[in-house]
Symmetry: C2
Subunit: 370 residues, 2 copies
C-alpha cells in the first residue's frame, strides 16, 4: 500500500501546523505498514501570489491529479492579497474543479478540551456537519451596475441545482443511517430566502421518503445557530448549503472548545479512476481553521486540526486501523493534559502553555508507542 | 401626548404574549402621563389566511399608516401555511413597504437569566446588532428552470444597493458613536461570497473614513459566530446584512440565555410626516422569537421579549422616562427571581415554573409601584 500525497501548506499557521501532521503520518505509516510519498507544493499561497501574480502555477491540476489525496493547510493573507482573490484562487478552485461536493466535519467535545458552554461532559457533543461544497451561495456569478453612482447595485446569484442539492442531501442521509441516533437536521431559511431555500426543503422532504428509518427535522439557520449553543448534544448529522454549512461547522467546533482541533474533508465520493488519470478528482483534507494572520509566526497554533485532517485522509484512503490509532492518540493526549493554564503541552487556545511543537510531538509520541 | 398603536398579535405565542405587553404599556402610560390608543388587528396571521386566503386585507396599508407605530407579535403556522407565504405576506411585507431599513436588537446578559455560556456575569455581555432589513439575501427575485428534470436549477439573487448598504452602515456607526466602547464589528463573508460581500466591505471601509473616532473590525460570518460564543463580551455594535444580521441576532440572545427575552425594532429612521399622511411609514416593534408552534397554546411563553419590544416602541415615540422605567422593571423582576427551577414567576425557558401570566404580571406590578 503506497499513497502519493500532495502537501499544500498554504499561508500563515497552515505552514506551521503541517509539519506535525506529516510527522504523525510518518509514524502511523511505519506502525501500520504502508508507505506515503509526500509531494510538497508552495503554491496556493499568498507568498506565491506575491511573487508570481497568481495563486497557482499553470500545471497545478495534473500535479494534484498525480496524487491520491491532497493535504491542505490554510490560505489567506488579507494584508497583501484580498481574501476573495486568495481563496477563489486556491481552495475554492480545488473544491469546484475536483467537484469535492461534500464537506464533512466532525464536531465532538473531546476529553480535556474546555468548552465555552456550561456543564457539558466530554463525548456529550458528537455530531457531524455535511456541507454542500461547490454551489449555492458561493456561485461567483453576478455583477455591479451604475458603478460609482447613487444607483449603484450589486447582485450575486445563489445557484442550487437538482444534482448538487440531491447528492449532498442523500450523502447526509447515508451518514445518518450509519450512525447510532439516525437523525438528520436540515438547515434552511425558507421563511426569508423565498426561492432557493424552499427548494432545498422540498428536496429534503422528497429524499426523506427513501429513508423512512431516519428521523428528519428542519430548522431555520438563525434558530439552529441558537440551538447549537443551547442543546448541541441533540444533533447527529446536520446538513446545510455551502454558506449554512460553513457557518455551522465553525460554530459547532467553537461550542466544543476550539476551532483549532476541528478537521474537514472535502470529498468527491464518486470520483472515477485514480491518480494519474486525466479525469481523476482527488479529495482534499484540511483543518477547519484558517491561516490566522493574528497568531501566525508565533509557533503557538494548535496542530490538532491539521493532524485530525490527516487522520481523515488516511481513513479515506482505506487505512482504517491507522486512522483509528491516530484519533485515539489525539484523544489520549488531550485527555491526559489538564486544560486551563496548567499544561505545558496544550496550545494557548486550549488554555495551555505549550506550542505547536509540544502538542504535535505529544501526539506523535503517543502514536509511536502503540 | 397621545399615540395610536397598531396591535398585531399574529399567530401562536404572538397572541399569548401580547396581552402582557399591552398591560405594561397601560400602566406605564398612566404613570408617566401619556395616552395610548390601541387598534387591534387580527390579520397578518395564518388564522386569518386560512379564513380569507390572504395574509392581509386590501386596506392594511392605510390602517397601519393611521398609527404612530406598530406592535407586532409573531407570525407563522407551518402546519397550515408554508413559512415563506406567511412571512412574505406579513412581516417581510411591512418591513419592505414601510422601508424599515434598520433592524435594531439589543443583546444583553440580564441579571437572573442563566446563560448557556460558562462563567459570564450579568452585564458582561451588552451589545446591539444593526441589521439591514429590506434587501440583500431576502431579495425575493429569482426563479426555477428545467423544472422536474435532472437539469433543474434554482436561482435567487442577493441584491445590495449603494443606498441600502450605506444607510445601514452609517446608522451603525452613529450608534457606535453614542456608546461607550465606540467599536463597530462588521459581519462579512467576502472570502467566499465573492461579489456582494466584497462590496459590503468596501462600503464599510469608505464610510469608516467619516468616523475616525470609531474602532472598526470585520469578521467573516463563520468565525464571527464562533466569537459570539467565545468572547461575546468584546462586542459593542455589530452590523450585518439581512441574513447575517438575522443569524447574529438569534445567536446573541441564545448566548445570553434565552431568545424569549430579546426585542427587535424595525425602524425607518428617516420617515417623513406622521400618522394619517399618505406617505407615512411607521416603525414596527416585535420580539425576536417567532410564533413557536411547539409551545403555543400552553401559556408558558416568555412575555419579556414582547414587553421589551413595547419598551423600545415608547422610547422611539419619545417617552424616554417611561421607557427607562419599563426596562428597569424588567431587570428588577429578572434579577429578583432565582433562575433554575426555583422561581414560580419565571417561564420554563428560564428554568422557572411560572408562565406567561406570572412573569408578565410581575413586570406590570413592578411598574405600578414606581
Ligand atoms: C421569521 C423570519 C422571516 C424573520 C427573518 O428572518 O427576518 C425572523 O427570523 C426575524 O429575525 O425577524
Ligand atoms: C476560507 C473560506 C473561503 C472557507 C469557506 O468559506 O468555505 C472556510 O471558511 C472554510 O470553511 O473552509
Amino acid at each position: 500500500r503506497k499513497y502519493t500525497i500532495a502537501v499544500v501548506p498554504g499561508d500563515g499557521i497552515g505552514v506551521e501546523v503541517m509539519p506535525s501532521a506529516l510527522r504523525c503520518l510518518e509514524v502511523a505509516s511505519h506502525q501500520f505498514g504502508f508507505t506515503l510519498e509526500f509531494r510538497h507544493f508552495d503554491w496556493a499561497s499568498c507568498t506565491y501570489y506575491n511573487k508570481h501574480g497568481s495563486m497557482l502555477p499553470k500545471d497545478w491540476k495534473p500535479l494534484l491529479q498525480a496524487c491520491d489525496a491532497i493535504l491542505f493547510g490554510a490560505v489567506g493573507d488579507p494584508a497583501t492579497v484580498p481574501d476573495h482573490i486568495s481563496l477563489w484562487g486556491s481552495i475554492l478552485t480545488f473544491r469546484r474543479e475536483f467537484d469535492q461536493y461534500i464537506n464533512l466535519r466532525p464536531c465532538r467535545l473531546m476529553p480535556g478540551v474546555p468548552s465555552p458552554l456550561a456543564g457539558r461532559e466530554p463525548g456529550s457533543i458528537d455530531f457531524i456537519t455535511v456541507r454542500e461544497n461547490t454551489e449555492g451561495e458561493y456561485s461567483s456569478i453576478g455583477g455591479k451596475i451604475f458603478e460609482g453612482t447613487e444607483r449603484e447595485t450589486v447582485i450575486q446569484n445563489t445557484v442550487f441545482t437538482r444534482i448538487g442539492v440531491d447528492r449532498v442531501i442523500r450523502y447526509a442521509f447515508e451518514q445518518a443511517r450509519g450512525r447510532k441516533a439516525k437523525k438528520l437536521t436540515s438547515a434552511t431559511k425558507s421563511n426569508g430566502i423565498s426561492i432557493t431555500m424552499p427548494y432545498w426543503d422540498e428536496r429534503v422532504a422528497e429524499i426523506a421518503k427513501e429513508y423512512p428509518d431516519i428521523e428528519v427535522e428542519k430548522y431555520h439557520i438563525d434558530i439552529l445557530c441558537a440551538h447549537f449553543v443551547q442543546r448541541p448534544h441533540t444533533f447527529d448529522v446536520v446538513v446545510g448549503s455551502n454558506l449554512f454549512g460553513d457557518i455551522l461547522s465553525d460554530l459547532g467546533p467553537a461550542c466544543t472548545g476550539t476551532i483549532g482541533i476541528a478537521p474537514s474533508a472535502n470529498l468527491n465520493p464518486t470520483a472515477k479512476g485514480g491518480k494519474g488519470d486525466k479525469e481523476w478528482m482527488p479529495s482534499l483534507f484540511e483543518p477547519v481553521h484558517g491561516s490566522a494572520p493574528d497568531i501566525a509566526g508565533k509557533g503557538t497554533a494548535n496542530p490538532v486540526g491539521m493532524i485530525w485532517a490527516a487522520q481523515m485522509m488516511i481513513e479515506h484512503l482505506g487505512e482504517k486501523q491507522a486512522a483509528d490509532a491516530m484519533l485515539h492518540a489525539i484523544e489520549k493526549v488531550l485527555g491526559a493534559e489538564k486544560a486551563g493554564g496548567l499544561s505545558n503541552v496544550l496550545t494557548p487556545d486550549m488554555g495551555g502553555k505549550g506550542d505547536t511543537e509540544s502538542l504535535g510531538k505529544a501526539v506523535e509520541n503517543e502514536l509511536a508507542n502503540i
